[in-house]
Amino acid sequence: MWIADVEFLEALVAGLRQRGFRVVAPVERDDAIVYDEIRSAQELPRGVGDEQGPGRYRLVERGDSARFGFSVGPHTWKRFLFPARTTLFSATLEDEQLRFEPAVLPEQRYAFLGVRACELRAIALQDRVLIGSGHADAHYAALRAAAFLIAVQCGQAASTCFCASAGDGPRATDGFDLALTELLDAGEPRYLVEVGTDRGREVLESLPHADASEADRGAARAASEAAARQMRELPAESLHGVLASVREHARWDDVAERCLGCGNCTLVCPTCFCSKIEDSSELSAKRAERVRSWDSCFSFEYSHLHGGDVRTSTRSRYRQWLTHKLDTWHDQFGSSGCVGCGRCIAWCPVGIDLTEEVRVLCDKDAAAAAPVEGDV
């Protein structure tokens, strides 16, 4: 492990840009921390923290100079690796000659600065779905292969975080090229640096750094211990077979009374991968295009069949989302689809708390009791 001063960030951004990467990092915009391209480490938030709760997200002044003093916001890295809209092909029809032209694969090389442990896990889950389960998605695979990942170890948890129970958080141990732990002494922060790959090592070696002392390592461990103190949890890391066994639980009716069916949870979720295909043609009717865009299992059209929509009730749509995420994902991809980032809790407009729904659904005593009143 190595230690670096705050100037390391500027050198890191510049070095990555020199290597042809577009550096994407957290920035403050519209009263939230979002991910966007930066040209300088000066653009990172400074002394900004957040307060999160069910249906609640606020930025706060921390009173220090932390560059990464917040938890995850509404954006996920999915918006870069699996963009909300991707053109797959164009087609032309002239003189009864139908021709298909595949879209050019993306050539962007992204460097993500500030990837949290839950987000690394989410990227690994999307890799499993979009690359590793039979048919790979060429667009995702191209962007993913080029991406350089710089993790930032969490030094605090939002009240919505539950990565410690959902996965193996809060400390990232692999899946990154470099990992930083922000050490907040008086004045400017310093960074403990871990190397995950050879190309991470190559980048580090070109930047100013020194060997980390035992005191620095201890400070990094203490930061992770602070981040591990989380208010929320899932009853077990694996709920495989559990939610599928309570498909007629009264709690689904209860949550349907509160759920607006807006699909926010699926849009902020870093692992939701559902997409739809839309074909359209130009007015000339000679050229057509196929676009793939994000879809949500909360939309009616999602389950449309010629006989009508299959999931007409909010109850059935919420049940599909939660059961898939935590239970049947195991059948399909060998693990849970939830990383415990808590975005679906914070960004639910009515504050539905996944961990609370799961707690009730898995509570064998409550299963026999009358429906629980909503707790919004």
Binding site: I277, R292, S303, D331
Partner: protein, 288 residues
């Protein structure tokens, strides 16, 4: 990790979402809203083989793409055969195609009816409505390899006599050796109909087959499945010998879009044909 995970070659991975160009060779009007299209591949490349039970994604230029089962098996290089009922804008556009016109095809996808597991056994085929299309290749294969199977029972229900598919072929099946054909309709408004009126399971109650050595293949509206299975149970047919083809909304056909999930299953990838015990409890859940 980032550099080692995503090593798949883009040239091989993009193909599943890119259609190939096919051309309508023949168009047969089956009923007022249903046609059978025979499709040949444009250019040098050979059409892929399609097995009974599989489906292709058919793309109507600029309109959309829908999953359609093959209504005849085809070898490599042979034309594809699809029976299409016009129920939405894409299927309507496909059903309007005339000989010589082009469309896109991706596939074939999905698994096959496990007919080979039932050599020497009786075969019961139960179809409702357009559900006969994916089962026609099963019937054809049994008749082609007649000595390999026992008695063949084909039970077919339609809403109205005017909606019956493959009329001439049905008559050939009826005249085939060791074959029983039962056809029932829901109503007979405006036509003379000498056959049974009512639901398909009633035909099953009277059908001749050896329950222990029978493979039952079923495709039709989901409401048809449970009564048929109940009748099969009455006849002591082991349920693992019942195979059903299921349908859900489908966009990608390669297990990536999420739409066709049925509990743990992706119907495009794990189905569309399922052994009944694998989906029995799921079929009981409303709005799954």
């Amino acid at each position: 990790m980032s550099s080692t995970t995503a090593t798949n070659s883009p040239t091989t991975v993009r193909e599943p979402m890119l259609p190939s160009t096919y051309r309508v060779l023949r168009r047969e009007q089956e009923t007022a809203d249903t046609v059978t299209l025979t499709l040949e591949r444009d250019g040098e490349a050979l059409a892929a083989a399609c097995e009974p039970g599989q489906f292709n994604m058919l793309y109507a230029f600029g309109v959309g793409e829908v999953p359609i089962s093959v209504s005849a098996a085809s070898d490599v290089g042979e034309p594809l055969v699809h029976t299409i009922r016009s129920v939405g804008k894409t299927s309507a556009a496909l059903a309007r195609l005339k000989p010589g016109q082009s469309l896109g095809v991706r596939g074939p996808f999905g698994n096959v009816w496990p007919l080979d597991d039932y050599e020497g056994h009786d075969i019961v085929v139960i179809a409702g409505g357009i559900g006969l299309a994916p089962l026609r290749p099963v019937v054809r294969r049994v008749l082609e390899r007649r000595a390999s199977f026992g008695h063949l029972v084909v039970l077919y229900g339609a809403r109205h006599p005017s909606e019956l598919l493959y009329l001439e072929e049905l008559e050939r099946w009826r005249a085939s050796p060791d074959t029983t054909l039962g056809i029932t309709v829901d109503r007979t408004t405006g036509v003379e109909w000498m056959g049974p009126v009512g639901i398909v399971p009633r035909l099953l109650a009277r059908a001749r087959f050896d329950p222990i050595e029978t493979g039952l293949f079923l495709c039709g509206p989901e409401v048809m499945i449970e009564p048929c299975v109940r009748e099969a149970l009455t006849r002591k047919l082991p349920l693992e010998q019942v195979h059903v083809s299921l349908e859900r909304n489908m966009h990608c056909a390669i297990g990536l879009c999420g739409h066709c999930q049925f509990g743990p299953h992706f119907i495009c990838r794990d189905g569309p044909v399922f052994a009944y015990p694998d989906v029995e409890s799921l079929l009981r859940v409303r709005e799954l």
